[in-house]
Symmetry: none
Subunit: 220 residues, 4 copies
């Protein structure tokens, strides 16, 4: 279809070593100097890699960072999973939503727990810097934004959908509610405060969001 213009490189010969070094350099630079001052040349230099090696495999700074961050998330998830395993038996101590949202039967409590964990994550500079960078670029670059959402955000949101559906089955949420929209009532406010600095991010705040969303603003 497309005239395969750029003659795609042979990925079997790809240097795993370089890929890792590039990921690490990209994340480190974003954390240390910020996204705008992170440059492809800087990443290449820090990774001990030729610029061409980056241009060969990625299309832009954002591409590099998106993959690097995905990789980082996977690592973190893997680590968390192992830890989870070693603590098996204990219930509920969810550390990271990628493990799924706990289902103790008490929807409000489960949501508050998970949102508190998210609050923690949003404050961890190691995660915050790259994800904020990607989110920012995604705001102005629709294609990147959609990939960011599809690969990072939506999988997280899907866990809320699952938990809400489960709550619908137990009657804690009205059956006519669309869970994909419902989750936004407590997730989006947190997201906006984080993205736009529209307010402080605290446990009390997220707890409140859950209460308001579940019970509504109108008198009962």
């Amino acid at each position: 279809m497309a005239p395969n213009n750029p003659a795609p490189p042979d990925s079997t010969r790809r240097s795993e070593r370089s890929r890792r070094a590039i990921y690490d350099a990209a994340i480190a630079l974003v954390v240390e100097v910020g996204y705008p001052k992170t440059t492809i040349e800087g990443i290449a230099a820090r990774a001990g890699v030729g610029k061409q090696t980056i241009y060969r495999w990625w299309g832009s700074k954002a591409d590099v960072l998106l993959e690097a961050f995905l990789d980082l998330s996977e690592q973190a998830a893997r680590t968390a999973a192992q830890e989870h395993e070693s603590h098996e038996g204990r219930e509920g101590r969810a550390g990271h939503e990628s493990q799924g949202i706990p289902d103790t039967g008490d929807l409000a409590a489960d949501l508050k727990l998970v949102l508190r964990a998210t609050v923690d994550e949003l404050r961890d500079p190691g995660f915050e810097a790259p994800s904020r960078a990607l989110a920012a670029d995604g705001v102005v670059n629709e294609e990147l934004g959609r990939r960011f959402v599809a690969q990072l955000l939506e999988p997280q949101l899907q866990l809320y959908v699952d938990r809400l559906r489960s709550a619908q089955e137990t009657g804690q949420v009205r059956p006519d509610i669309d869970p994909r929209i419902a989750l936004e009532l407590f997730v989006s406010p947190l997201a906006q405060r984080w993205l736009q600095y529209t307010g402080p991010i605290t446990y009390e705040y997220t707890d409140t969001l859950v209460d308001y969303a579940l019970n509504g603003l109108a008198p009962r």
Copy 2:
């Protein structure tokens, strides 16, 4: 305190002509070529202005655009106000939130109306391009983000606070609710969908948000 190094220029001698031209050029370029490809040189050239005239009065591309957009908003508000005046007698047909949120007594209807107007605005390229650009830069540049919020976003949100308080007085909203948080239940989801392309933006969607937020997710 600070040694106010660069000796601030004399604003009384400032050229109004240049300021206007720079505002116009900045907005036009962001709309036409996008924020990242909008350069200070480009703005200066398009405005028929020396680069130094921009650097003399603003600290960055974002500063220029923020002021330009503020100016644009004021113009729009002024225009809308005049139009409103000329249509006096008709009630309620608010076109722009800066006029305040209508208060017909029916909170849900009023909110839906305003949110629909916001949906329209978010789709107007003349407004979308610059505000998206500023929002994006604000995500990664906290100082800018806070100014964006303080000068553009928060005044809008305050209107919701007012309307919600009015609703509390008429008993349509529970008195223990914090309006500043409550408004996020329907505003933030819309904001996030717009910022991050996490879902379509439609009247049905915003209507649904209002219903969910007012009535809550839990069965009554």
Copy 3:
């Protein structure tokens, strides 16, 4: 004739204070930072004068410096003349050529004396910096070069012409010699060494030049 384009300013209202300050600033800057780094803005700032005051009365940096240097030379000449007067009675101890070249009857001795004084002058940074600057600009700017020569150099050279003519009358120089050309035999070599760094500038050197020039290179 000409449409009196720029409407020449009224020189009777001219500020002597500013003129002096500009001269001083120009000379000082050329000495301190060099001609290329001397700017009109810098002169204006250092002189505590508006830029327009410079542009009103001079056409270029070189114009300013040329006048400043002429002024400086006149001052120096006046100072030297006073000093000369106070030492009256003593013969021959010419300090500065502008007083005329001494005429003791011994042409070689007189020339050597004057050239040694020139050597001293060429090494005085206060004179060297500005005159070198003007000479340099004159090399590449014919109009300036010709003014530099006419106003500064040629009057000096004329003194040599006079002395050589006197020597022709006493038979120390052949009558068919053109003094204006002859003087170049000892003046130009010194000038070139100074302008182009083609060799060291010493008393021995200038003495030698006089000997060679008077006696010729060929065996007698």
Copy 4:
């Protein structure tokens, strides 16, 4: 010793193409618009080269022009040499001093011939413009001046030294004369007239210089 900060570029990878284009552009611009209006940007643009490519290999406009002019001189010398070769058998018709000064046994005639050729050269705009530019900058920039002399001027002067020494052997010049100084008697006057516009440059003038210098000003 010095911390050789800027990490000198790898000259083996240097683009010969760019170098040539830069030389040509620099010379052409100096001839066409003059040295002061010749800018690095202009050279880069005319040469179809990035500015950085100039800054990578040269430190200043003068550096570029000096090398360009040296290259031009070498080319010219090479061309002249070839021409000379093809005219072998004919004696004495020296076109360019770099071929050496002719030695017909008649010193005065040989010097006059060569100086007349120099007069021609000083009037060839292709040579005059760049060499005047370099000379001018060298007046005010000692480091450049010394390089100009060492690389361009002194080699020419050395030819006079050689010819004068030969004349000393044949008894046409007194043995106690220092040829390096002697040559200045006829070369420097011409140089000064050229540099400073102190007088017309003609064959008659240079012929006269030779006569005066060889025979001296004093009666024989």
